[in-house]
Structure formats: structure tokens, C-alpha cells
């Protein structure tokens, strides 16, 4: 079987063709083509097993020069966990000042990924 997918790792957005066989619950990948670099291979493999994404949002700041501090996940999380993680982000609020790079929610939902500030709010 062949599955087409767009690699989202970088803006080239290569259109990948993944040739695979279904063996019970498992997929056995035979060939991946269309990738311009090897990160595309890793992406396609991950996508066939369990798609992951990084997400960006913002968290309320009390007493800051701006009402929000932008945040992102420190790495990709399983797609199915996107909305549960968003719910955690929405529950959170922090006090100014916040330094860019600060971990605001460590190991969110035990996923091994942190929610980090991407901006400094004084």
C-alpha cells in the first residue's frame, strides 16, 4: 500500500510516498520516497506509528506589561494529546516577570515534554 503525506518538519513541505504492508496491527514500511533530507524519513516513520506535533499557545500573566506570555511545547507530543495539553495550558497562570525559556509547566501530563515561555514579559 502507498500513503502520501506532507512532511511538516521544515517549510519545504516535501510530499512523501510511504510504501508499506499491514501485518496485523503493525505496519512494515518498505520504502519512503519524495523526501529531500533524512529528517523526512524519521517524520514518515513516526507518522505511520503515532503522529506527533509541537504546539504553541499562550498563558495568562498577572501584573505584567502584557496580558499573555507565549509558550510552546519543548518537543513534539502525540496528536491525541493536543487538546488535553491545551486544557492544562488554559488552567495555568503565572506572575510577572517571566523570562523567555522558563519552564512554566514541567513534564505536562507525564509526556516527558515541558511547556516553556517563548517571550519575556516584565
Amino acid at each position: 500500500m502507498i500513503k502520501e503525506m506532507t512532511c511538516v518538519v521544515c517549510p519545504n513541505g516535501c510530499l512523501l510516498q510511504v510504501e508499506y504492508e499491514k501485518q496485523g496491527d503493525q505496519v512494515a514500511i518498505q520504502r519512503i520516497t519524495g523526501n529531500l533530507c533524512k529528517r523526512g524519513l524519521e517524520y514518515a516513520r513516526q507518522e505511520m506509528v503515532s503522529p506527533r506535533r509541537t504546539i504553541a499557545s499562550s498563558i495568562l500573566v498577572e501584573g505584567g506589561s502584557m496580558p499573555l506570555v507565549s509558550v510552546r511545547t519543548s518537543g513534539p507530543i502525540p496528536k491525541a494529546m493536543i487538546f488535553p495539553v491545551m486544557a492544562e495550558i488554559r488552567k495555568c497562570s503565572v506572575k510577572a516577570p517571566v523570562q523567555a525559556g522558563t519552564v512554566l509547566i514541567p513534564n505536562v501530563l507525564d509526556l516527558g515534554v515541558d511547556i516553556i515561555a517563548t517571550r519575556t514579559v516584565e
Binding site: 517549510p11 513541505g13 510530499l15 509541537t54 504553541a56 507565549s70 487538546f83 517563548t118
Partner: protein, 423 residues
């Protein structure tokens, strides 16, 4: 905005600088750092807003910096790296200051809280970015209720002011900012009914179609447009129609979508009032200035880079372009730049090129966009009958900016060049 003699008399502060940079976004910042490092330290950045960083301040999603820094940063993080570089070098900048006029001999006039500022410079860099096309530019019929806004404005509301634009959303246009907002709104709990694009192909990048729409099951309707907007105070519904090959709405295909918000993501236009005012010629294809390989406009000593020159989808390339331009500015300050008299013409399936003319004395990276999608495209530059550069692109899309290297040794003389896509 022009400036009358009356205003000129009110000038209450006169300054001097080797180079004035208009706009403190990624293009202006990268240019400043590079100029400083090349020994041009007498710089002044003028920025309209209260902070440096430009449009990136509101782009909180990640995907910036992959080319430049090898990591995926959010917009504010990317901008901050350059802001820190500017601050470390003590490069002068003034915020809350809007440049209102630039003269052909490098006099820059700007309005700020305390009055008018007049800067005499030896060279001026245009780095004003772009603005979004609005409803007025599209002429959609219907009422004028609240709830119709551009994607960039929606982005600023959500990411800077913590205001949700609405709950039931229709997006017109498949530009990248609209796609990014479709995802952002969905993550924040709004219901995005669909993205409607008048053209038969999406205008945003394939990766944004995937990660912003497909990932969340948001439908994309190609060859569709909004033909009516209804609502008295607040938007209540929009009418969407299919269009034919000439992009004309087809009668009988109307569908009504109840929604409280219509977001427009229908294109960006370089912001060039100042450029025109300074006497520089604009290129009809890019909407930005007509430039040579040093990004010098048709006015000597007036340079442009970033979205003010042509709309970029990737800030990494904005930074690179601004740095290349800075090298040109340095050469200009050290004596005139060679005359650029070889024009680049757009041939088959080429939408535009930057630069539009070159001197032939340098190796040049030509940036271009194709007009229509083409698989296995071979992009060629010809000078008369000779092929002087070529590049294969597996999947050439109008959404992707393409670079092609043109080596000076390949040139066969001073004849004009034609850029085209081979079948």
C-alpha cells in the same frame, strides 16, 4: 503621507547618521547588525511601534529559524535573538516613531511624541514590511457588521491582547496566516467551519495545509469565495459560492454559513508609500521597489529588503536578504556601486524575480516565484541563446520562494536575461 512646508518649519530635532533604517522588524535588525559588524556603526533604526521585532512579535507558532539557527523557534524567540545582537552593539534605535517622508537625497522625516524628527543620512534602508489586503480591496458586497477582520489583526487580538475574535469562524483565503489562525482558533476552542479559496490551488504552504487544517479536520474549499456578508451589528452569516475558471461566482451554488466571524487571509502587499515618495520605481510584479543585486532601488543610496521588497513566507530568508543588502550598503558608502544595466525578464510561468536587474560583476542569488504549480520544473536563465543558469525543482508551487544561483562567469555579455520554466 506628504509633508508641507509648514510641517518642515516645525522640525524640532535634527540628527545625523550614516545609515537610517526604517522599520525594526527582522529585515531592519539583521541589516543593522551586519552593517555594524562591517564597521558602519553610526546607525539609527526608526520603529513605528513601541518595541522592536516587527510582525514576529505576534507569530507565536513555531517554525522560524530552521534554516538560520537549525532549530524551530517561535516568532518572538527568533526576533529576540536579533534584538539582543542589536542591544549588545549599542546600535541606536528609536521606537514609537513613524517615518513620514524620505527624500531622494536621504533626508528622513519622522513623527514621534515630542514632535518631528529630521535625520540626515548618507544611505537609507527601507524595511517597513507589508500589510494585509482588506475587505475594501476585495469589494465583497453586503453589510458592514462587526466580526470581519484580517488574519493578522485576529492574530494580534489573540496573541497580544488575549481577545478571542469569535466562536464560529469562516476563513476567506488560504494564505499562511489564515491557515495558522485556523489552527490557533481551533486550539482555543472556536469552531472553524472552513477555509474558502477562490483559486483552484491553495496560496499557503503545503505544510500549513497539513498541520493547520488536515490535522484538525478543517475543510478547505478551493474555487470558492464569499459572495455576501450579512448581519446588522454583528456578523450573522456569510454566503459562499463556487467560482468558474474566470473566478466568477456560479449562480445556483450559493451556500449559507451561520458564523460570527469572517477572517480574511487574502494576501499581503508591500508597504511602499515612502518608497514612492522618495522617487523609487516600483516593480508591478512584486509590488516592491525595483532593485539591483545589492537591493539598491532606482534611487542611489536607497535600499530595500524584507517584506517591503517582496512578500516572504520565511523570515530566515528575510534575514539573509537584509544581510546581503547590508554588504551592498557598505560598498555604496565606500564609493558608488557598479551600474546594473542587465535586466531580468520574467518568461514562461515566472511570476517575478528579485533582483530585477544586475551588473554582471557578481555572483547573484535570484529569488523567484512560479505563477502556476509545476512538477519537475526546470528553471532556466537565458542570455540570448545561451543558458546561463538552471535549477531543477521537484514540485514548484507559487507558495514556495525559489532561489537560483547565477554565476558571473556564465554570463556572455551585457544582454538582458530571461528567466523561465522549461516543460
Amino acid at each position: 503621507m506628504g509633508m508641507g512646508q509648514d510641517n518642515l518649519n516645525k522640525v524640532n530635532q535634527v540628527m545625523e547618521a550614516s545609515v537610517v533604517i526604517v522599520g525594526g522588524g527582522p529585515a531592519g535588525l539583521a541589516a543593522a547588525v551586519r552593517l555594524y559588524d562591517r564597521g558602519v556603526t553610526d546607525l539609527l533604526i526608526l520603529e513605528r511601534e513601541n518595541k522592536l521585532g516587527g510582525i514576529l512579535k505576534q507569530c507565536i507558532h513555531d517554525g522560524f529559524g530552521l534554516t538560520r539557527f537549525g532549530e524551530s523557534l517561535s516568532g518572538p524567540e527568533y526576533a529576540d535573538r536579533f534584538i539582543q545582537e542589536v542591544k549588545q552593539r549599542n546600535i541606536r534605535f528609536i521606537t514609537d516613531t513613524t517615518v513620514i517622508q524620505i527624500t531622494p537625497d536621504h533626508d528622513v522625516y519622522a513623527a514621534h511624541r515630542d514632535g518631528l524628527l529630521h535625520v540626515r543620512a548618507r544611505a537609507v534602508i527601507l524595511a517597513m514590511g507589508c500589510r494585509e489586503r482588506t475587505r475594501g480591496a476585495l469589494a465583497i458586497p453586503g453589510t458592514r457588521p462587526a466580526g470581519v477582520l484580517t488574519a493578522g489583526v485576529a492574530q494580534a487580538y489573540m496573541n497580544l491582547q488575549n481577545r478571542m475574535p469569535g466562536k464560529k469562524i469562516v476563513i476567506l483565503g488560504s494564505g499562511d496566516i489564515g491557515l495558522i489562525m485556523a489552527r490557533r482558533l481551533t486550539l482555543e476552542g472556536a469552531h472553524v467551519l472552513g477555509v474558502f479559496e477562490i483559486n483552484p490551488i491553495p496560496s499557503g504552504l503545503p505544510r500549513n495545509i497539513q498541520q493547520c487544517l488536515n490535522d484538525y479536520g478543517i475543510p478547505l474549499f478551493l474555487s470558492h469565495t464569499v459572495t455576501d456578508i450579512r448581519g446588522t451589528d454583528r456578523l450573522q452569516e456569510v454566503v459562499v459560492s463556487k467560482v468558474d475558471e474566470k473566478l466568477q461566482p456560479l449562480a445556483g451554488t450559493e451556500k449559507v454559513y451561520a458564523c460570527d466571524t469572517l477572517i480574511l487571509s487574502v494576501g499581503l502587499i508591500p508597504e511602499n508609500e515612502l518608497t514612492i515618495g522618495a522617487g523609487a520605481e516600483l516593480c508591478p510584479q512584486t509590488g516592491g521597489a525595483y532593485v539591483d543585486e545589492w537591493y539598491q532601488t532606482t534611487v542611489p543610496g536607497l535600499f530595500a529588503a524584507g517584506n517591503v521588497l517582496h512578500v516572504h513566507d520565511l523570515v530566515d530568508f528575510v534575514s539573509l536578504e537584509a544581510e546581503t543588502m547590508a554588504e551592498g550598503v557598505v560598498r555604496y558608502l565606500n564609493g558608488a556601486l557598479p551600474n546594473a544595466s542587465i535586466a531580468l525578464r520574467c518568461g514562461k510561468n515566472i511570476g517575478h524575480t528579485v533582483p530585477q536587474k544586475i551588473s554582471g560583476t557578481e555572483n547573484v542569488v535570484v529569488t523567484l516565484r512560479v505563477r502556476a504549480p509545476q512538477k519537475d520544473a526546470e528553471i532556466v536563465i537565458r542570455q540570448g541563446k545561451a543558458m546561463v543558469a538552471r535549477k531543477r525543482v521537484r514540485n514548484a508551487l507559487p507558495a514556495n520562494m525559489i532561489e537560483i544561483h547565477l554565476l558571473k562567469d556564465q554570463l556572455t555579455g551585457g544582454q538582458d536575461l530571461e528567466v523561465s520554466v522549461n516543460d
